[in-house]
């Protein structure tokens, strides 16, 4: 017992230090608790609501656990030993109803949150959303701006304050499109089109990456989005230079490549995205062989630009 008490005294301060370090650091740069758009704010709010609802029963339960265990320790002569106290209808009733009521409450939060924050639901706004088509390849992202007739690789530039409507698919394996500070992520899947509605309310450069493991080049599938004022966005779109994004260029993208530096295309085949999504083009090529297959991989290091 003494041993426990002694260790407890040592462990407790450690936790306090840890907890104190935790709070400010959670509000750091790319934290999901520092959202810059309505979707991220909504997600984080629901998360905090759910957390508070649960803490309301978790904290008393923790205290009761430690309290009971402490008080009823065998060496405590003041505690009353009641070996026959093994059932009480009243307690069972309470024991089933506390979690049930909590889940009722939480169920409401879940129901409402799932509907209002469904990624397919457009963000209410007077402005017409900016259309962006995103395609994941091994191992880079392609963003097509159909209205601007430009496309970028591993680079996402968006106007501040205007709703963004993404259509997302994959030309090879599964990936997830995720910008923590903008909110909701969604899968990029071959043969399917996911939709995602986001809005960036603050200019800045944010972390953006694939949040689903997709193979050897996965850690470098970064596209850190930049949010800029509308006028600057228009300037940028007008100024983009690059080759034509046609079937030929697509053929290059379908080859595996890692850590691709951002670059752009000017002039986009308007049917390209739908052709990929509908599997009218062959899927990403994959490696040539692994161990126990033909040896040697055909990965373009740091490249892929035409």
């Amino acid at each position: 017992m003494i041993f426990i008490r002694r260790v407890g005294r040592r462990v407790l301060p450690c936790f306090c230090v840890l907890a104190a370090g935790l709070l400010p650091s959670l509000a750091q740069a790319d934290s999901i608790l520092e959202p810059v758009g309505p979707v991220g704010k909504g997600d984080a709010l629901i998360m905090m609501d759910a957390l508070v609802i649960m803490l309301a029963i978790v904290i008393p339960t923790m205290i009761a656990t430690l309290g009971f265990a402490w008080w009823y320790r065998a060496s405590n002569t003041r505690a009353v030993y009641r070996p026959d106290f093994t059932y009480s209808g009243k307690i069972e009733l309470v024991v089933w109803s506390i979690p049930t009521l909590t889940i009722f409450f939480l169920g409401g939060v879940i129901w409402i949150g799932s509907h209002t924050l469904d990624p397919f639901t457009p963000i209410p706004s007077a402005a017409k959303p900016l259309e962006i088509e995103a395609v994941s390849f091994d191992w880079k992202w392609l963003f097509i701006y159909p209205e601007q007739n430009v496309a970028t690789v591993n680079q996402l530039v968006v106007p501040v304050g205007r709703p963004l409507h993404f259509r997302i698919t994959s030309a090879s394996v599964f990936n997830v499109f995720f910008v923590p500070r903008l909110g909701s992520m969604i899968y990029a899947m071959n043969g399917m089109v996911s939709q995602l509605n986001l809005r960036a309310d603050k200019p800045g450069k944010y972390l953006g990456f694939s949040a689903h493991f997709s193979g050897d080049g996965f850690p470098d599938m970064r596209f850190d989005p930049v949010a800029v004022p509308a006028a600057q966005f228009a300037n940028w779109a007008n100024g983009v230079k690059g080759a034509q994004l046609d079937r030929n260029a697509l053929g290059q993208l379908l080859k595996q490549s890692r850590a691709v530096k951002p670059y752009a295309y000017r002039g986009v085949d308007p049917a390209l995205f739908d052709a990929i999504a509908a599997r009218r083009v062959a899927p990403g090529e994959g490696p040539e062989g692994g161990r126990g297959g033909a040896e040697g991989r055909n990965v373009m290091p740091h490249g892929g630009a035409p």
């Binding site: 840890l18 935790l22 650091s25 790319d30 934290s31 999901i32 991220g40 629901i46 759910a50 957390l51 029963i57 339960t61 656990t65 009823y72 065998a74 030993y81 009641r82 106290f85 093994t86 307690i91 069972e92 024991v95 089933w96 979690p99 909590t102 889940i103 939480l106 169920g107 879940i110 129901w111 799932s114 924050l117 469904d118 397919f120 091994d138 090879s172 394996v173 997830v176 995720f178 923590p180 909110g183 992520m185 043969g191 399917m192 996911s194 939709q195 972390l207 949040a211 689903h212 493991f213 080049g217 996965f218 850690p219 062959a282 090529e285 994959g286 692994g290 161990r291 126990g292 040896e295």
Partner: protein
């Protein structure tokens, strides 16, 4: 001749797996040499390898599980070391290798460490708790064990011959399809998991039959100890879920071997179907692990509080409730695939409903302690560590079940922290508590308390220091399975997490020390009475270790906690119950069937992985022949004469009588 197998399969260019593999091979050869030199082989063969005794099989399962836990832990150390240094750098593991490490870690921990440990304890304890002599199908039980060992062996062979899967512990297509994973890694995964999965399914059949059909006379369902109830629930889940796993992996196998298109990107394949199917197994799988863990906590908390389990019926109801609901939640693993508000909300709610069952259990454990006289032995410390830790782990789980929260937490390090929170504090703590608790029953001596407590304290501190930082980096946006990264805010949290692993290494050292010290001091830690903890269930009636036949005479159960009642009566009247009439006992004969089966299964698996078709046919013929020989066997089981039984049981009674006479009780 050798299919795809050639010298290029050995990773001569990668020193780490090569050296690790060489060390393992040397250790194994050394052990074998020792066994042969000392002439232990006949003993091992007769008493262990061909044994069909549920207790021996249970012990071998636990040994396998502990070894694999160590292997998985080494993988974990490698990952933590990599992420501690791979900031703006490639670290020491290239992606090809890092990706194998986390895939192997997850696969091994869940399927070859946690599962064998859970099934091992079930094997050892359930027949004893039910007051019977063995499981329904003893030889099948041995087949199950050896098939599980085959799977573990194949995974470990992949360390040096070829490669392991680089697709994560669940091989999601299209990444796991031939186009994107042309190597043998995924094939190793598929055959290892398929072969051990058959073993697990057979275990499920065996234990459901045992628990439903053979219990001691008078042992009605509502008199079954809680651990046996949870074992039943877990095995029912195995029966329902493992065929789904087998079928799903079979489909992926057809894609890879015969050019089918279930999940491919071409010809109308649909990979999303795989996610649905694999999680239809995967979610129940976590309850297959955690329900028996809950059973262990129930036994431990009740024993060391000196009280029956509070709200026993409620606990049974909550177990079955979890059992059923766990099949209705699989979609929470991919809320972010955009299934729409209605579907996401429905699965979010069904998932949080499971928490009701778990909450009820927590409160009942609380009230078991209420009014108790709690002895803080090592198993009880693990249970306290569980109670206080699991509540918050469950909280983060329910948080992930809220779809909008999952939209920003899915696949993040927050998720990794969550599942380790529940699986380490829920399952691993329980298994260590269970081993500690039933060790005297298995080996006849207790484990050293001091080293046990040290293990506990280092583990719990190490656990928090390792996994809490993962929650933080998850909130800071970090996704899982990253071989390198360049975000400064993550770096130092990941380093703290690595310090936590150092503490866990100390804990693992203490655990090994505990086993060694206890073995050396086994005489002074000896359990003479067979009831070292003042136990309440039938396994404590018999001697430690129990005779092959478990009970000289099957107990006639007339009550819940029958043994406890019996013991109290003996104390009151200061005498034992009347000596029973002893009869000869029929016990199953040992059989090499399981071992031989597994030998051929290993050959089949290896041949399939490397496309060595003739070898596969040899293996199949061998396995079939083994089956036929066993099925046609015509030898009677063997009898243990009544005299021998009587003699052994009188010795047991004498030890108990001694306690009554002297009134001295050395209960921990």
């Amino acid at each position: 001749m050798l299919g795809k197998l050639s010298w290029s399969a050995i990773p001569f260019d990668q020193p780490i797996p090569l050296i690790a593999g060489a060390v393992v091979v040397l250790l194994m050869l050394g052990a074998l040499a020792l066994v042969l030199a000392k002439g232990w082989m006949p003993y091992l063969w007769k008493e262990w390898i061909t044994s069909v005794d549920h207790k021996r099989l249970g012990i071998m399962y636990v040994l396998l599980g502990l070894l694999m836990l160590l292997r998985g832990f080494i993988d974990a150390i490698m990952m933590r070391a990599q992420q501690a240094v791979a900031y703006h750098a490639q670290g020491y593991l290239p992606p090809e290798h890092y990706n194998q490490v986390f895939s192997a870690h997850g696969t091994i921990m869940v399927l070859f460490a946690a599962m064998p440990l859970v099934i091992g304890l079930m094997n050892f304890v359930v027949p004893l708790q039910l007051g019977v002599r063995d499981v329904a199908f003893p030889t099948l039980n041995s087949v199950s064990f050896w098939l599980t060992a085959t799977g573990a062996l194949l995974v470990n062979i992949s360390l040096v011959v070829g490669e392991f899967a680089r697709t994560g512990w669940l091989p999601y297509p299209p990444l796991s399809e031939l186009r994107y994973s042309p190597g043998v890694g995924v094939d190793y995964y598929l055959w290892a998991v398929q072969i051990s999965g058959i073993g697990t399914l057979l275990t499920g059949i065996n234990f459901v039959t045992t628990i439903l059909k053979i219990r001691a006379p008078g042992m009605t369902y509502m008199r079954m100890p809680m651990f046996s109830w949870t074992a039943l629930a877990s095995c029912l889940l195995i029966l329902a879920a493992f065929p789904v796993l087998t079928a799903t992996l079979a489909m992926l196998t057809l894609d890879r071997y015969l050019g089918f298109h279930f999940f491919t990107n071409e010809a109308g394949g649909n990979a999303m179907m795989f996610m649905n199917l694999i999680w239809a197994w995967g979610h129940p799988e976590v309850y297959i692990l955690v329900l028996p863990a809950f059973g262990i906590y129930s036994e431990v908390i009740s024993t060391f509080s000196g009280k029956p389990l509070f709200g026993y019926r409620s606990m049974v109801a909550a177990t079955l409730f979890i059992c059923v609901v766990s099949f209705m939640t699989w979609l929470h693993h991919f809320f972010t695939m955009g299934a729409g508000g209605d579907v996401n909300a429905a699965f979010g709610i069904s998932t949080s409903i499971i928490a009701v069952g778990t909450g009820v259990k927590i409160y009942n454990w609380l009230f078991t302690m209420y009014g108790g006289r709690i002895r803080f032995t090592t198993p009880m410390l693990w249970s306290m560590g569980f109670l206080t830790t699991f509540i918050t782990g469950g909280l983060t789980g329910v948080l992930l079940a809220v779809p909008p929260a999952d939209f920003i937490l899915h696949n993040s390090m927050f998720l990794v922290a969550h599942f380790h929170h529940v699986i380490v504090a829920g399952v691993v703590f329980a298994l260590l508590a269970g081993i500690e608790f039933w060790w005297p029953k298995a080996f006849g001596y207790r484990l050293h308390e001091g080293w046990g407590k040290a293990t506990f304290w280092f583990s719990i501190v190490g656990f928090y220091v390792t996994f809490m930082p993962m929650y933080v980096v998850g909130i800071l946006g970090m996704t899982r399975r990253l071989q390198h990264y360049d975000v400064a805010e993550w770096h130092w949290w990941l380093q703290i997490s690595s310090v936590g692993v150092l503490i866990l290494i100390v804990a693992a050292g203490c655990q090994v020390a505990q086993l060694l010290v206890s073995y050396i001091r086994r005489e002074e830690l000896k359990d003479i009475t067979g009831d070292p903890w003042n136990g309440r269930t039938l396994e404590w009636v018999t001697t430690s270790p129990p005779p092959v036949y478990n009970f000289a005479v099957l107990p006639q159960v007339i009550d819940t906690e029958y043994y406890w009642e019996l013991k109290q009566r003996a104390f009151e009247q200061a005498r034992l119950s009347e000596e029973p009439k002893y009869e000869a006992i029929e016990m199953p004969r040992n059989s090499p069937t399981g071992f031989v089966c597994a030998f051929f299964a290993t050959i089949i698996g290896f041949a399939l992985i490397w496309h060595i078709w003739w070898l596969m046919i040899v293996g199949l013929i061998g396995a079939y022949a083994t089956f036929v020989v066993f099925a046609w066997r015509d030898v009677p089981e063997y009898m243990i004469p009544a005299d021998e039984v009587a003699q052994q049981d009188r010795a047991r009674r004498a030890a108990r009588q001694h306690i009554l006479n002297t009134g001295e009780v050395a209960w921990q």
